[in-house]
């Protein structure tokens, strides 16, 4: 039934859905804390994105390998332990080789453990799919998250500090608006970016001829997080 081409295409979809259609930060509203907190400079955004991608791919592979082994009612603590292990690994690497990034990301590096994206992918995808697809899914979600972080930090760094990845880009006579690198700027820029992604999705669906109403997103930020419906199912 499944030709080689269709399989190749579906594997590509496993990877690419995380970047646009199911972008974790902009479409699923997951991992909002790091998205808001570390995006004051482009280098921080790339660093956080890379660290999260590493954890997503590695924990996806391990959870997928263990998918017949972990008892269903013990899966949550098991997933968390696997994820925490890889986060500790990332922390050690960053601390040893990238001390500047370590200082910039600070407490948000260990907090990758409680990033809903990672636990959500482990529960929703990796625990139900073979290793190769789990790794691709994690990689796609990681790249999508990184893209969102870079987009967000590019806007904030250029407007708020007048630089892009540390290189001055604004002419001298334009005063940078510091509020963009401060917390209120984080909320506002993310709001505009999500509104933009909603508008793009609405246009895309109109072009497809499918109904436009569905382009609106659920209002509840927690709705998409795997954690909650996981608990509901247990109850």
């Amino acid at each position: 039934m499944m030709s080689g081409m269709a399989k190749g295409k579906s594997m590509f979809t496993v990877f690419s859905k995380g970047i646009l259609a199911e972008n974790p930060a902009l479409r699923q509203m997951l991992g909002l804390c790091p998205t808001l907190a570390v995006t004051t400079a482009v280098t921080n955004g790339i660093g956080m994105g890379a660290a999260t991608t590493f954890v997503l791919v590695c924990s996806g592979v391990v959870v997928s390998l263990l998918r017949g082994v972990i008892p269903t009612n013990m899966r949550l603590p098991a997933f968390i332990t696997v994820i925490a292990g890889f986060v500790t690994l990332v922390m050690m690497i960053v601390e040893a080789y990238l001390p500047e990034l370590n200082a910039a990301l600070g407490i948000y590096l260990p907090l990758i453990v409680v990033n809903c994206i990672v636990l959500g992918r482990a529960e929703v995808f990796a625990s139900k799919h073979p290793v190769r697809e789990a790794a691709l899914d994690g990689f796609g979600m990681g790249v999508g998250f990184t893209v969102a972080l870079v987009l967000m930090s590019a806007v904030r760094e250029v407007l708020g500090a007048g630089t892009f990845a540390g290189i001055p880009v604004l002419p001298d006579f334009i005063e940078p608006m510091t509020v963009f690198v401060m917390p209120p700027g984080g909320f506002a820029v993310l709001g505009v970016l999500i509104a933009g992604s909603v508008a793009v999705e609405a246009l895309r669906r109109r072009a497809d001829g499918s109904e436009t109403k569905e382009a609106m997103l659920p209002e509840d930020a927690c709705a998409a997080c795997g954690m909650c419906d996981l608990k509901e199912r247990e109850a």
Partner: protein, 198 residues
């Protein structure tokens, strides 16, 4: 001593507000702030778990350090918090059914709340002693509660507004959060002036 405690407490509530300034616990802040009573319930549950978690994780860190296992901090803390929340839920359900009625639904959501793990790690990183760490956790929780209560009031107004189509729902909520956060920027320096140098 009291001045130091007060300085930590108020700086955690106002200047370093966990949600509005440090972006910890943003998911429940945006998700559970639609109604005032659920905002209060979630805020109280988070405060309780923060203090309880820190009261366990701070001594645990001393133990890990003494054994030369400091690098296990993240794994140890998240597992302890997960177990603690489960135990708290079971205990409250058994002995304080009224409290469980009020807070029970929020407790399971707290395990992966980054604010709880955040305050546990921060209290250790800042080099606080045990009492200071507990005050820090209490301040973080109260700050979260304050932000939730304030924001639930703002959201009732926002829900009646009619923003552009693409801004409906989450984007307009984030924009209003930006303004609430902006107002908290005004507290910078307040604590230093009230209680002397921190």
């Amino acid at each position: 001593m009291m001045a130091e405690f007060a300085a930590i407490l108020f700086s955690m509530i106002l200047v370093n507000n966990y949600v509005l300034v440090k972006f910890l616990g943003v998911c429940p802040f945006l998700g559970v702030s639609k109604k005032l009573d659920s905002a209060v319930g979630m805020g109280c549950a988070v405060t309780l778990v923060m203090v309880l978690a820190t009261s366990v994780t701070w001594p645990l860190q001393q133990l890990l350090d003494a054994l030369g296992l400091g690098y296990l901090q993240t794994i140890a803390f998240i597992l302890v918090i997960a177990v603690l929340v489960q135990m708290l839920e079971i205990t409250v359900k058994r002995f304080l059914p009224a409290l469980h009625e009020a807070l029970g639904v929020y407790l399971p959501l707290i395990t992966t709340n980054c604010a709880v793990l955040g305050v546990a790690i921060l209290a250790v990183d800042e080099g606080y002693g045990y009492p200071e760490a507990l005050v820090c956790a209490l301040g973080a929780g109260l700050g979260f509660l304050l932000a939730m209560v304030l924001f639930s009031g703002v959201r009732r107004r926002v829900d009646e507004a009619d923003p552009p189509r693409a801004f409906r729902g989450m984007p307009i909520t984030l924009m209003s959060a930006a303004f609430v956060s902006l107002s908290f920027m005004g507290f910078a320096g307040v604590v230093d002036n009230l209680f002397g140098v921190l």
